[in-house]
Subunit: 208 residues, 2 copies
Amino acid sequence: MTTTDRAAEVEPGRRDRKKTATRERLITEAARLFETKGFDETTTTEIAEAADVAQRTLFRHFPTKEAVLFGDMVDLRIELREALAARPDDEPVLEAVRQAVLALADDHQRHAERRRLQFRLAASVASVSAYSRAVVQASWEREIIRAAAARLGVDPVDDPRPEIIAGAAMSALRVATRQWTARAADTDFVALADAALVATGDLGPTAH
Amino acid sequence: MTTTDRAAEVEPGRRDRKKTATRERLITEAARLFETKGFDETTTTEIAEAADVAQRTLFRHFPTKEAVLFGDMVDLRIELREALAARPDDEPVLEAVRQAVLALADDHQRHAERRRLQFRLAASVASVSAYSRAVVQASWEREIIRAAAARLGVDPVDDPRPEIIAGAAMSALRVATRQWTARAADTDFVALADAALVATGDLGPTAH
DNA sequence: CAGCGTAGTGTCAGTCACTGACATCAGTCA
DNA sequence: TGACTGATGTCAGTGACTGACACTACGCTG
């Protein structure tokens, strides 16, 4: 058990290291350019050149320009899935979802600067907003749906409740995100998210 | 200004009639081409030529190719807003939202063929999915948020509940849409949507 | 360790969504 | 009727993305 942890983590060779290095260079250079020049004003060729690769290489690592911006979020889906799986089986569904989504919130807190850039661009650039909603957030939503369906013991195609729970949780997360983006950099994002997620369980009492 | 007064329904002149005729020709020709050739396989120039206008004219009527596909949904937002406003003030929020969203469902029922094409493409083409979520559905969601906030007497920026309600309702609608698309053409969409929306109020009881 | 297969990259040329600029023509209205 | 204005056509671009092909270096196997 030297560097191998659980699922046979083999030391990656030079080729793989170069590949991930290129990928990360693209992500950071893109973020820097988006920050300084704006999203639409930055071309994919500029990003590629800043990372010292050909434009074609950028599109071998990412399917779209938007995907470069959110490139550091790919494993968040897995993280959310594991957080959901880690909740005790006898915990109420909404509580399990709430706790798991706080793992996402915690990640945002840890990568505050990058997340703020992403949220800011999602709020101002149409194509980024669309990507964030339809690709990033939708992937999280699917994890919540899957987990909620499993806990409720139902088929998410027949029973609408898993998807409704997921939609409500994602809405809560969006509210927290918007509030956080509008406030000072040291605002506690997890607390905001928690407050919003608690309100998710209050839909009944909202009745009137 | 324009001709006489504005809010009232004035008989549109020949110029306006031509304009809307062009717009509608673009929408129907696009739908026909998307149906037969597929979305990605149809170029905007082909759509324009089928409608007997220049490609440039298409982009004066619609900002994107996806917007042409959903061109017949523009006034649905207004319809939803009015349905929300029409609900009695003393009705519980969730019930008002449910009834209003059934107005959307009813529209889908009435334009079954076109809606099925749109949903099918949204399920298979990434850019269409993104547009549907981030533009079309998001606009409905905003209407629900606004109405729910007004009914609860809260500011939707501070209080997450309006957005959570809206997110849950939109999720219910998406479930119903997916179920409907997968079933026979004469399936009762309103009934499916109603069943899903009823479940929205059951999040508390879902507890365990 | 020599040699072979292949993954990651560069280069080039092409497609297509979308846009600015300018000319033209047709409704509209004084 | 004549001036104004808004819808359209034409043309020339920009920039995101893609297929094809060649090349190099990594890594494995004999």
